[in-house]
Structures are given as C-alpha cells and as structure tokens.
Symmetry: C2
Amino acid sequence: MLQLLRRMNNFYLQGSCRANCYRFEIDGTQVGWISPHVASLLTRYPDVFSPPHGGAVSLCHGLDSYRKRSEAVDAVLQTLRQESSLFCLKGWRDEKYSVMPKFSDPPLMWMERAATSLFGVKRYGVHVNGYTVSDTGEVSMWLARRSPTKQTYPGLLDNVAAGGLSAGVGIKHTLVKECQEEACIPAATAEKACPVTTVSYTYEDEEGVFPESQFIFDLELPPKFKPRVGDGEVQHFYLLPIDKVKELLATDDFKPNSAMVVLDFLIRHSYIEPDTEPCYQEFVAGLHQTL
Amino acid sequence: MLQLLRRMNNFYLQGSCRANCYRFEIDGTQVGWISPHVASLLTRYPDVFSPPHGGAVSLCHGLDSYRKRSEAVDAVLQTLRQESSLFCLKGWRDEKYSVMPKFSDPPLMWMERAATSLFGVKRYGVHVNGYTVSDTGEVSMWLARRSPTKQTYPGLLDNVAAGGLSAGVGIKHTLVKECQEEACIPAATAEKACPVTTVSYTYEDEEGVFPESQFIFDLELPPKFKPRVGDGEVQHFYLLPIDKVKELLATDDFKPNSAMVVLDFLIRHSYIEPDTEPCYQEFVAGLHQTL
C-alpha cells in the first residue's frame, strides 16, 4: 500500500515535475500547475495567456469574468484538440469542471474535464463505500469491476459507485446520480449514504498533474439488495468479505484512487490496527496529502 | 475551526521559523528541527553535537548506538536544565519518548519528553472519543475539564482520556492505562475502543517545534456508565449532546489538539456534511498535515 500511496502522491516527491512547473494563476491567485511543455504551447495564445513571468502563467487581465475566462480558455482548448497535439484532449467529455483556488472559494471559471490535468487544476469527486452487515455483524463490501471499454482504468476493481463533481452540481446530488446510473441503487437508498471524510492526493503522469480530492460516503446496503449494472461503466459487482478485500488491495487489480478509498474504509472501521500495522500513520498521511 | 487548524499547523505557513531551522539528523537521517537559538546553545557540546553544517545539526558519529545517543543527549539536557536557560525544561517529566524518522522505523534514541520541542522531534500519543448512544440512537459525548493545576492547558476541555506514547509502550496499552488513570474506565471497557484514524499537525511556539501525531480511538460507553476523576488530571466530566459539543468547539474553551480530535469525530460520524460546510475538505486536510 505504501508504494501505491507514494505513486498517487508522486507530485510531492523530489524529482517530480513540480520544481519545473509554473503556477497557473487567475488574478494573482494560484489555481493549478502548468508544465514547461504546456506553458510553451500556450504562448501561441497571447490574448488568453500572459507569457510565463515570476514562475507563473496567468490568464490575461482583460478576462475579468467567469464567462469570459471560461469561453476564452475553451476556444484555445478546442483548437489544441483539433491539432491533436495533446493526448489527454482525445478524452474530451463535454463535462465542465469548476476552477477555484479552494473548494470554499467561488469558481473563477469552468474548464473541460479532460483538460484539467494540463493546467494541474484540482478536481473533486465522490466515492461510495457500499457494504452490508450480516445478522451476526459480519461486514462485506460491494466492489465493482469496471467495464473493459472504459476510457480510464478498464477492467479494474472499483468502489460500488463514484463520479466527478461537475460545475454547479451538489456533492450528495452527484452521489445519488452515480449510485442510480452505475449501480441501479434507488435514490431513496443512496440518500442514506453518510459523509465520512475526504481522500486527497496529487500525482503526475505523461498527461499532466492531477490534484484530486474525493468526498467519501459510507452506504450500508440491505443484505438482500444487489447492485446491478446500469449505464455500462461496470461489468460486474461482487460482494466480498473484508479479508478478501484486504487481499485484493495488496494486488494491482484496483483502480488506484479507489484502492485508497477502500484503505481509508478499513482504517476507519478498525480492520487495520496501529499496534500491528507499523505504517498506520503513514497510511493515514498518504490518504490526505494536500498542497 | 479553520483558524485553529491554521494555528496548529503554523510551522507550515510562510513566515514560520521553518526556513531558519536546522534539520536535526542522526546518521544522515532527519529526526527533527532545531531553531538557530537552540543550535547555538548546542555548539557548547561538541562531543555530542556536530556544529551546524549543510543546514543540519547532527549527533557526533561516535554516538553509534541507541544507548550512547540517549545518554549523551540526556547529559547535555540535564546541564541545560540546571542552568534553567530553557523554559520548556522546567516541565521535566522523567518520561522517555522514542526518536525515529518515521513511526515504522526502529527508534534511534530516547529523549526526555519535555525536551522534544527543542529538537522538533515528532511526538505520538493516543486520544479517546468517549461517547454514548441512547435507546433512540442519540449520540452524546463525554468531555473532560482539565485540572486547574495541570502544567499544560489548565482548566480547558479535553477528550475523555489521552496521553503521550512513551518509548517502548504499545498504543492500545497506553490507551487502556490512560482510560483507567484519568477517567476510572475499567480495562475491560477500554479494551473495546476502536482505532479509527490519526490526527497530525505541526505547530511552533516560544518553546520550540511540535510535530505530533495522535492515534485516535472511538469508545462507545454504556449509557449508565459515568467516568470518574482518577489521578487528578481532570476536575470534572460532562456528558453533552452533539449540538452542545459543536457549540463549544467554536469557542476557545478547548485544548487545541483535543478540539481537532472532536472535529474529526464530528466529520467521521456525519455531523458535518460537505454540501453545507464549504470548508469540509480544508477541515480534513488540516487534521492530517505531515511534513
């Protein structure tokens, strides 16, 4: 697990691109990280992006409203997408994500989801731990196997439901929608999900920088209830005893951030104990890394 | 709460002493932070501490064992204590804390608890959330009012039991001992406490640098059970409904790190929700800051 946590937080490690990245700023406030490669592409659009200065790439001052910023950046991204010079833009989703310094701040613009990693803009989502408690108190966890045709992490194990937070959409609302669409969990059941924490991390890969925070919910499902494949994002659901879940967590069969969510569940529900797991504190730290 | 979390993590803020601190190293591995003032005092003991070099103060190479390091440093500290030039050493407790780079590493030496802040050595402890659930499912929390004669934070509100982790003593063992000593909770009851997470932070004040991680346990107590004042560290115990606990959390009547532990409890038990608390993610981040 430590290895996974390190990989999911590799942006914080020495030798990451962080030292070479520019801050992405709007009105003097940082909202992301831009690699030198992306920064040099953006110099072609001087009406939208000021050239790198003092370690930062900024939106031009004239772009002084949510709409102006969003539309100007979107036009640049549409051009870059056509040129197909950036691989991640092939995954264009027509999903608008909010861009803001902190979650509690008002959004300064929206940005296409597929482009957020180019700007190292923080993404938020929800993940749901679906579980059952038997008459004898034994806990089992529902896990999903992602569809083999999913754009990202095809065929890997995942939480029972999860999804990204689009601009202007509530957290619980997103959870209920994803539960219905992905796992056919009725809204009345999904509404009972309990918010319990966040899981945060920042990784970099060839597609950019990914600072992410997931809002985590625990959802106890009735023992007789079975999630069903909904919108085709999942190929199968499994109900597994905790020992089996622990075993799987040690393999690389999990979508990485979903493995982190399961690890957090195991810690919060006392299936991992600090006297017997020497890395307990490092586990918790790795689940909550923020810039 | 954000203000409290910032204060308890002020070592990470710009303008903290961090930029001027030396790393405290043993055999090339960092185990703490030393302020310039303390570093200059230590130059008087060249047989124990190598002079500052490359941003670090190190133990001399000849001190090549747990015992040699511990005894040599202790001798220096005893001298400094006699000179009474360092205020924090007036709080000498004859309590040995382990010094190690990470909790999962073998300890490299022990150090008197009262001196750890001079060396910015990480301290570990346990905190217990004692609570009851009524027949109708209502949760109330037991809080302690610290004795007015306590050396630290006299008269403030605290968790039902808490204590530092001494060298070589187990985590659950410490919890059971503190529950018995401070709150007269029988061992058989305290044993049922569930480990749920850690709470980590680093603050600086005039006595030094305090990187700390607390192992957190939830302990559901029978509705009829009442904690009683034990060793005199507490003057009174209160059983309070969650709404009242929330109210108190907004005052400065709490020992700061205990307030963080209560905030974590409220988040994990869904008494704070991300759709209605804009700072939810910042709260969670502030409860888990690590270097």
